[in-house]
């Protein structure tokens, strides 16, 4: 605290801020506010994740022992009670952002969404209610409903994951690193299609002003799906097509990140673009059979990196200027 005051004083001394401003700053600081808003919300979130993991394990371990009906009934009751409260407190559907009066309900919505998914999964494993893959689609639909009705981004994220599971890929951060997509080329195409669909849906939602603040979640999923699928594709035989696709998506995300001022999107756009570009260069060098002059190439690499650094600096400067 001492530090910030010091610089505030200096701002005042240099007459960069005015006396009345300083007064109100002092008044505010005298309140001694120490907000636990984010911390407490995160604890609630953690509690939901712990609880649902616990439920998941109980069900998984007792799948053949206790009466299924008992578990089903318990889950159903819990989910039902949760949803009852949420519906009671919700302000109803709105195209704009709606918040619960108390953020606690956001986490009850999340709890109910995950519990419903566990419920459906249980029905599927035990009674095979759904045809192939449809159970994750059902989860996804419930989660989409919760996301849009109760305005919950975490539920939206589950919904998109469910959709991806339905077409056969897992898009959690962990599995993305475990190369599932790379080992199965068909999945690349499905991933690409899903990514493009997500973009189209975002654009459409924007047009009709439906939950515009969901844009970033959708675009993040789309960006990583398309980026990873394209890079996987570039390492395969049809690489020219994927190169073009990656270039197109890089262009799209570049434009979009400018529009919505999202540095997060912008950085990953550059990252995927740069990885793709390097793969392309590598392919060209490899096909030209330049191995005789590999010593020269090694000496050229610092130049290449310096060049790229200058390129990046320029791009980011542009971005920051636009943002400001």
């Amino acid at each position: 605290m001492a530090k910030s005051n010091e610089f505030t004083e200096k701002l005042l001394q240099q007459e960069l801020i005015t006396d009345p401003q300083m007064q109100s700053i002092r008044q505010y600081e005298a309140l001694g506010i120490f907000s636990l808003h984010n911390e407490l919300r995160f604890l609630l979130y953690l509690a939901v994740l712990l609880f649902t993991s616990g439920v998941g394990i109980i069900i998984y371990e007792n799948i053949d022992s206790i009466g299924h009906i008992a578990i089903l009934a318990f889950l159903f009751a819990l989910t039902g009670v949760g949803f009852y409260f949420c519906f009671k407190k919700a302000k109803g559907f709105d195209k704009d952002e709606v918040l619960f009066e108390s953020p606690v309900y956001d986490y009850i919505v999340l709890l109910c969404t995950i519990l419903s998914c566990i419920f459906i999964g249980y029905l599927q494993v035990q009674y095979k209610v759904f045809g192939f893959g449809l159970s994750s689609l059902a989860c996804s639909l419930i989660a989409f409903f919760c996301a849009y009705y109760f305005d919950n981004k975490s539920a939206l994220s589950i919904a998109i994951t469910g959709l991806a599971t339905f077409i056969g890929i897992t898009v959690t951060p962990k599995t993305l690193l475990e190369n599932e997509i790379y080992s199965n080329p068909t999945l690349t195409y499905y991933g690409l299609v899903l990514g493009i669909l997500l973009i189209l849906w975002t654009e459409y939602s924007n047009k009709i002003a439906l939950k515009k603040h969901f844009q970033l979640v959708f675009l993040t999923f789309a960006q990583h799906l398309i980026g990873i699928c394209c890079i996987a594709g570039m390492l395969d035989i049809y690489w020219p097509i994927f190169t073009i696709l990656l270039a197109a998506s890089t262009y799209y995300f570049y434009k979009t990140s400018y529009e919505i001022h999202s540095a997060f999107l912008f950085v990953f756009t550059l990252l995927y673009g740069y990885i793709g570009f390097n793969i392309l260069i590598f392919k060209i060098v490899a096909s030209l059979d330049l191995y005789d002059i590999s010593g020269l190439l090694i000496i050229l690499t610092p130049m290449y990196f310096i060049g790229s650094i200058f390129g990046f600096i320029k791009l980011i400067k542009n971005f920051n200027r636009e943002k400001a």
Partner: protein
């Protein structure tokens, strides 16, 4: 002492402060833009992703440059490896000076790569030249501190602290300056001393640019203080480092102390941080408390995992809910109301990201579900009969 132009550095911090005031709504946007025009500042990247990106680029650049140097001076390396490291060190020091002094980079990413790079090279150089780990650790401690002071570089203080802690551990474990059993206490005393230094320096007037390094110093001393006394850490490390074998019914020396501290320290952190309004300590308190629970569960299976998760979830939810109820309408001091200037938008986005790694929809799909005929998935059947 500080490499940067004093005025520019000062301006950087002033602008930083104005931005904070703007976020809090005390200073209107126009005024911020006006001040931005008036104050020339150092080049920094505030977005952590961009900074990390440039850091990686800087590392690539540094490694490719040293690669070129190695290529030219290849025959030197055979006999005089230390000379190579010396050249690398000198080279990256020059690089850091150019980037900071001429390019005015401050927390830009590229400068981070070079500043941390020369510390690494220097530590390697001393290690190779003297063939003594102790000397290497001490070198790290000094070079880190020097870099932190000269470049106002936050991460360097961490390097320095790691060097210091490493040197002490090495002196106790290998050189046996005192009985190895006392290492936890030595480290705990070190943590206390570091915290004392933190308090002393941060209350003095001369630290104005070093708020972030000081924060890191505080965090390090809190974490070190906890882990030096954590039962699991002490027990596992005694087994692996001191080759202590702990039979059934036996326990490590001073076990009761470590059990006590494992829980007392986090509770102290949480309570004291709420009292002194110290966010970093509060967060470390929560994290270490979680680790304490893990520690106990590691040795005593009080509850099956699912029971622990359910109970933990319910207790946590209940606790947080009660706290929210209690703090909801308070206007001063501890409160649930968002503080001025904290963005409400970040947390939901982070949560949306994490929920994905937690909720695994795939596991509930039956194994045979491969609607797209991926083909290669039937080979998983081995393994069972081993």
């Amino acid at each position: 002492m500080i490499v940067y132009d004093k005025q520019l550095l000062e301006n950087t911090f002033l602008l930083e402060e104005t931005k904070r005031l703007n976020d809090q709504g005390f200073v209107p946007k126009d005024q911020l833009t006006e001040i931005k025009k008036q104050l020339p500042v150092l080049k920094s990247h505030h977005n952590i992703l961009i900074r990390i990106g440039f850091f990686i680029l800087g590392c690539l650049l540094l490694s490719s440059l040293t690669g070129v140097i190695s290529l030219i001076t290849l025959n030197l390396a055979e006999n005089h490896f230390w000379l190579m490291l010396f050249i690398y060190t000198a080279f990256s020091v020059v690089g850091s000076e150019i980037l900071t002094k001429q390019q005015n980079q401050f927390g830009y990413g590229l400068d981070d790569a070079f500043i941390l790079g020369f510390q690494g090279f220097f530590c390697g150089l001393i290690g190779v030249a003297t063939e003594s780990p102790l000397a290497a650790f001490i070198a790290l401690a000094f070079v880190g501190l020097a870099a932190c002071i000269r470049y106002v570089h936050t991460l360097s203080i961490l390097v320095s602290l790691i060097g210091l802690t490493g040197a002490i551990c090495y002196a106790v474990l290998e050189l046996k300056i005192i009985g190895s059993v006392f290492l936890p206490f030595v480290l705990f005393v070190l943590a206390l001393i570091l915290y004392f230094v933190y308090v002393k320096v941060s209350t003095s007037k001369k630290h104005e640019y070093y708020a972030n390094p000081l924060l890191l110093l505080q965090g390090f001393s809190l974490v070190l203080g906890y882990f030096s006394m954590n039962y699991m850490v002490v027990r596992e490390l005694s087994e692996s480092l001191l080759h202590l074998t702990i039979g059934k019914g036996q326990d490590i020396p001073f076990a009761f102390l470590f059990y006590g501290f494992t829980f007392l320290i986090p509770i102290f952190y949480i309570v004291y941080s709420l009292y002194s309004k110290d966010r970093l300590m509060l967060i470390i308190g929560f994290l270490t408390f979680g680790f304490s629970i893990y520690t106990i569960r590691f040795y005593y299976h009080i509850l099956p995992i699912e029971g622990a998760l359910l109970l933990g979830g319910i207790l946590l939810f209940g606790g947080a809910y009660l706290a929210i109820r209690k703090l909801r309408d308070k206007e001063t001091g501890l409160t649930f109301k968002p503080a001025r200037g904290t963005s409400a938008d970040i947390l939901p986005n982070i949560e949306a990201l994490i929920v994905n790694s937690q909720v695994d929809l795939k596991s509930m799909e039956p194994e045979s579900k491969m609607p797209f005929g991926g083909g290669g998935f039937s080979g998983g059947g081995a393994g069972e009969s081993f």
